[in-house]
Amino acid sequence: MAMNEQEILAGLGKIINEITGIPATEVTPEKSFVDDLDIDSLSMVEIAVAAQDEFGVEIPDDQLKNLKTVKDVIGFIQA
């Protein structure tokens, strides 16, 4: 069951809000996790684990470090 970009974005927004407290509305595709959302590396691991549970897509560590923006994660989950 493929999810569209909007559905994945909404799911990510919810996860990021739960983990970091950042409002889901601020989680938009062009945002950088480090530069815009101020999310540290440990929180990124938490987000990746939660995303795996939510979307059923494993994000290996070597891929995780290349996912710089929200859009990158959406693309990875869709692919």
């Binding site: 739960e18 983990i19 970091t20 407290g21 440990l42 929180s43 691991v45 938490e46 684990v49």
Partner: protein, 410 residues
């Protein structure tokens, strides 16, 4: 001796306990003689001989924002909440962060995290563990988080001495300030150990009360019918500050931390040395360090946990060190035993007793044990005299740790 060195005062108090979510509500409950002990409703309780404990009156998850709470063990949550309260109570002082320290310990640390993380690892694999598992389980985690919260850079420390931890932290903070390493130190103890493994392990020692039909009456220090301690949880934190720094900023000064006395029994891993000499000497050292005489001490907040062996040894030690005159109380009769948090909350209580000149009564002391030769407050609270006074908080821990903190009115 002590008059030649830097004087250290208490300018902030914070606590979260089975009786209240802050120091004020806890203190009011103590004076009213209320118990924070309740029957537990967790499903695991059926597997244990003890079915009650003193859960925190205010759940820390209701106080902290969820993103913050999820990366802290419960004991760290209690510590951070109490530290923030104490800091605010001190007037959120302007201080050079290089001169601000933290000394906050726990007897056990993040044990709930350890056990839950092990289940996750075993059932789901290593890569499903929270990346915060290590900072949540480590016993120095609370000190680390508080130092981050306050930007404290003069050192963050975490003594671990079982049930003497909180008092030892205050002693360490006093030493730190006297040694010139800090102007302000946030100090105390925290514990969150209401977990079936801890309760089973203490039960295996036959150390816990099993008065399951009357949980509110189970913690009864010095009573003939006592049958063990009652587990509590929470944190108690003080802001310690040089008198000079406190006066310069016009801070309210609750009391002076005038002296610390520390000994070790060198006798048995859990049983107190029967003559009480270790506790007696801790109190004597604290008075000497404070430059006070036994007759100056008007109040002792005793360690008295309601175990059959310990309570009378402590009253003998008080009699031998100070005499029969101080008003002695055991607030664990209402809060239960917070283990590493005990010295923190009980120092808060000792200071508030001096500040308001009133000593809460020991609850459930219906039939006092024979041979108690000190003036134990029971029934209703009793007043302390006006004028300069001193008081001592005792905390003793498994391992043979004896700590006495001497406070004087300011």
């Amino acid at each position: 001796m002590s008059k030649d060195q830097v004087r250290v005062v208490v300018t902030g108090l914070g606590a979260t306990t089975p009786l209240g979510g802050d120091a004020d509500s806890t203190w009011s409950a103590l004076l009213a003689g209320r118990s924070g002990i309740r029957t537990l409703t967790d499903d695991w309780i059926d597997t244990l001989p003890v079915k009650f404990a003193g859960k925190a009156a205010v759940d820390p998850g209701d106080v902290l924002p969820k993103p913050e709470a999820r990366r802290l063990d419960r004991y760290e949550q209690f510590a951070l909440i109490a530290a923030r309260q104490a800091w605010e109570d001190a007037g959120s002082p302007e201080v050079d962060r290089d001169r601000l320290g933290v000394v906050v310990g726990s007897g056990i640390g993040g044990i709930t995290t350890i056990l839950q993380a092990y289940d996750t690892y075993r059932d789901k694999g290593w890569n499903r563990l929270s990346p915060f598992t290590v900072p949540m389980l480590m016993p120095n985690g609370a000190a680390g988080w508080i130092s981050i919260d306050l930007g404290a850079r003069a050192g963050a420390h975490s003594p671990v001495s079982a049930c003497a931890t909180g008092a030892e932290a205050i002693g360490y903070a006093l030493d730190m300030i006297r040694a010139g390493r800090a102007d302000i130190v946030v100090a105390g103890g925290a514990e969150a150990a209401i977990h079936p493994l801890n309760m089973a392990s203490f039960s295996a020692m036959r150390a816990m009360s099993t008065r399951n039909d009357e949980p509110e009456r189970a913690s009864r220090p010095w009573d003939k019918g006592r049958d063990g301690f009652v587990l509590g949880e929470g944190a108690g934190i003080l802001v310690l500050e040089t008198e000079e720094h406190a006066k310069a900023r016009g801070a309210r000064i609750y009391a002076e931390v005038a002296g610390i006395g520390v000994t070790s029994d060198g006798h048995h891993i859990s049983a107190p040395e029967p003559s009480g000499i270790g506790g007696q000497k801790a109190m004597q050292f604290a008075m000497k360090d404070a430059g006070i005489a036994p007759e100056d001490v008007v109040h002792v907040n005793a360690h008295a946990t309601s175990t059959p062996v310990g309570d009378e040894i402590e009253t003998k030690a008080i009699k031998d060190a100070i005499g029969g005159h101080p008003l002695v109380t055991a607030t664990k009769s209402m809060t239960g035993h917070l283990l590493g948090g005990a010295g923190g909350i009980e120092s808060v209580f000792t200071i508030l007793a001096m500040w308001e000149r009133i000593v809460p009564a020991t609850a459930n002391l219906d039939d006092p044990a024979d041979g108690i030769e000190v003036d134990v407050v029971s029934g209703s609270p009793r007043k302390l005299p006006q004028g300069p006074i001193a008081a001592i908080n005792n905390s003793f821990g498994f391992g043979g740790h004896n700590v006495a903190v001497a406070f004087t009115s300011h």
